[in-house]
Structures are given as C-alpha cells and as structure tokens.
Amino acid sequence: MNTVETNSGREIFAGPSRRGFLEGIGTTAFLLAFHLPVGPARAAGSPGGSGQFNAFLAIGEDDLVTAIIAQAEGGQGNSTGMTQIIAAELGAAWPRMRYRFTTERRPEYINPMLYEGLVLTAGSSSIPGFYDAMRRAAAATREMLVAAAAKKMRVNPGDLSVSESKVTHARSGRYLTFGQLAAAAAREAVPAEPRLRAREELPLIGQPLDRLDAAPKVDGSARFGLDLEAPGMLYAAVRHGRAYGSTVAAIDDAKAKTMPGIRLIMAVPQGVAVVADQYWQAVKALAEVQETYASHPNNDASSATVKAALRRGLEQPGTPTVGSHGDVAAGMKSAAKMLEAEFSMPFLSHACMEPVSCTARVDGNQV
C-alpha cells in the first residue's frame, strides 16, 4: 500500500526518469524470452531467403523482406512493431514483410537503452532502443537497392523512388522489385550515412496494424521456451526452500531414486532437483524427496521484516539518489508549499502464465 505523509507545506514530485527506471530494474526483472518460433512467424509464404544485408534485415529473391529481431516477444507486439520500422524506412509492401527471431550475439543487438554489453529484452525498450538502428539499417539497404537499380536501368539514382517493395523510375514508369535487385544490391557499398526518410515519408509508422504473431498463437504452432525439445533431452523438476538463500542440509531420496526414469537427484542453489527422462517422472519423484534446509536468517523473513530492512537501508548515510530533476534544493527553498510523500510497494511477482524454464545444452564441460 502506498503511504502519503504530509508534514509541511511544500509539494514534491519525483517521478522516476525513464533512464532511472531502466537502470533500476536489475538484470532479471522484465527479462523476457517467451515466444521463440523457429521460422518466420507469418504462416503464409516462404522465408525471406538468405539475402541478409545487415543485422536487422534480409531480402529474398522471392521479394519477401525479413526483419531480424534479437528481442523476445513478451506479448507487447514488438515483433510486429520492429518489422513495421524496417518496412517503413525501406519502402517495403507490408504484406511482403516477415520476421524472425535470432539468438545470435552481435554488438548491433545490444540495446543502447539498457546495460552495456548485454543482449536482453527489458523495460519496454525494444522499439525506442532499436528504432534508430533499424531505420539506419533499412535506409542503408534502400540506398543499396537504389544504386543497383540505377545501374540496371541506366538511370540517375536521384530519379528513383522506393515504395511497395519496388524501386521505380517515375519518368519512364519502369520499376524493379526488391527480389529482382536483392543479389546485385548486396554487392553495393554499404553507405556510412544513409539518408533517413522524413516523417511524412513514413506513412506506415503510427498505423495500428494487425499483429504478425496472431496466427501461430491461435493454431498452437507458436513455440515458447518451455516447448523446446532436443534429442536426448532430460527434464528437471526443481523445488526451492521457502527462504531466499536457502541451503539444503540433507536429502532423503531413498524412494525417489528407485522410481522410473530417474537419472539424478541433487542439491541445487536454494533447493533440490530431480532429473529424469520425462518431466512427469521428475515431478512424481520430487514429491517423494524429503530435504532439510540449514537454518538461514531469511527463514523468518516476512513483509514486515523486508520493509524494516529496506527502511534501515534508506537511512544509511550515503544512500544514493536514484533520480533527480532540476535544482531540487533550490526548489525546496523557494516553494510556497511542500508536501512529502512516501511510496512503498509490496513484493510483486509477475506471475506470468508460462512457468520459468531454462534449457541448456551440455557437451562435456561446455554449457
């Protein structure tokens, strides 16, 4: 519950800055890896081909443009939105756009709004974080398509325009499609400073388009993290101790280890894990495992003790200020009225529908 305490006549408003918010979320909160379709998520048509121009897009000889997305789709529609950015700047026909996710690690996929060096999806930053980079990538590709078209048509590049997945010479009415140009354009020099379209040249931006990920999520073909399967894959069921930081002191697995399909029963950080050939076997055996936990200060933790600990932390000298706008001290002095407010939030779980899961490939000592 939020508390508001007013003790004098000054009003304080300290909304956290966007940047401050992003810095404050930590490395795990809002981190999404939900929807990982293997191929392009648009059901109809073939993939955009292998004609990858840069980190963000590929153009196939079949005229399909594939936006390449290194962000997870948590449901907010960023896969559609990021595809829209590419289509708008490039001049592609929307029905010929596709997208695919990538887990490739490239410096281009580091979101400039988030932590340096990490590829992650967090804090509603996919669109604002990649808007400029995707536009630059699409603009550079557009200029390469124009350069290739100018050579093929023997015309001045300045007389060509790009829209609806075509490069058109207006004066003669001739045009070449992206698919016809893709191979030649890929051999053109990559422009260092491509011209970005003006806002009025981007009619696709700001339009509420149908979601590209709706169909696979309606017919059951969309693949989520928990749906991943690999040959010979084993499944683990995990139980954590009730206190954060729990350590297992002893495990009684006498019955569990004799159960079908069980490969391994072990202590893991904060709890126990049963590894089996099938998930259900692991779950069933875990119910038969009895573990005891070492005593831990957090065993007695409650909302009240957490709140008290946070309050003690705030009262430490040198507690950093998370965000600040303008000259606060001067504002306080000159303000006619000051209100003080204290806001607190309980621990909140996102409680997303898909249970947290993780798949690891272990080859010898390599994970």
Binding site: G74, D210, A214, D219
Partner: protein, 152 residues
C-alpha cells in the same frame, strides 16, 4: 494404454496411468500447442476436449482417458472452430499467447453448446481461463464475432 488423439488411435506403451494427460500430449506425443501453466487446474492453459467437452489436461490422468477421444488445439476443426480462430486473428486477441490455446478450446466448446451465449454465459464459461496479459475484452469481442458469424 490406448486413446484417440486428434482422430488417430495412439498406443502409449508402458505409460504411467497416473501421468496427467497434459504430459502425455506434450512429451509422449510431441504436441506442444497445449500449454502447462499451473498444473492444478487453476489457469486453463492446458484445456483440451475430451469427447467434445473441455477438460484441464494437467489434472486428468491417463487412466481416466483410456479409450476416449481427445482433441487438442492443433486439430480442432469444424465451422465453430474455424469461426473462433478467424475471430481471434481478426480481433488480434493474443498478446504473449501462452493462454490462448486454452482460451480457444474453451470458447469453441462454449459455442458448440450455446451458439448465441449471453454476456453472463460467456463470462461464466470462460472464467476458468486466466490471461495475465489481460486480453479478456478482446476474447469477449472475438466470441461475439464468432457467434454472429455462425448465426449468419
């Protein structure tokens, strides 16, 4: 252990009769469209049709479905299913999408039994299917659309 899944008779040799239908569908038969949410019949993500009726596959044991007919999201068909799926796409219902297989299975069963449900009937039929993205208004709109389409 024998059952019919999506029109095909499947034999699950040596399968544990205690195993929830969900894990047989997902892990033994490899049909991943049916989702594991809570494992306690509280969220509806695992909804499938058992002899045409919606059930929570996470809390239905294999022993209980021996010889019966199971339909999953991958194979749901017929005019009602097609109307529901089209309405879902037209209304851009899914966000993260994790609950949507279950939502659709429940909605199809509803319209199969009540072609023109009232608002209360929709709310009542769908109340066991949770969506953490909060797509409920679009789910209701899509059901209304599908119902209208089927009535034409």
């Amino acid at each position: 252990m024998k059952l019919t899944v999506n029109g095909q008779e499947r034999v699950l040799e040596g399968a544990d009769p205690d195993m929830p239908l969900l894990w047989a569908i997902r892990d033994l038969l490899g049909l991943k469209g049916t989702k594991f949410g809570c494992g306690r019949a509280l969220c509806g993500a695992c909804t499938v049709h058992l002899d045409g009726q919606p059930v929570r596959s996470c809390s239905t044991s294999l022993a209980d479905v021996e010889g019966r007919r199971v339909t999953t999201i991958e194979a749901i068909s017929g005019p009602v299913a097609e109307a529901v799926k089209s309405a879902w796409i037209k209304n851009n219902v899914p966000q993260c999408g994790y609950c949507q297989s279950g939502q659709i299975m429940t909605a199809v069963a509803l319209l199969e039994s009540i072609p023109k449900p009232s608002g209360d009937e929709v709310n009542s039929a769908m109340s066991g299917n949770i969506c953490r993205c909060g797509t409920y208004p679009r789910i209701r709109a899509a059901i209304a659309d599908a119902s209208k389409h089927l009535g034409q």
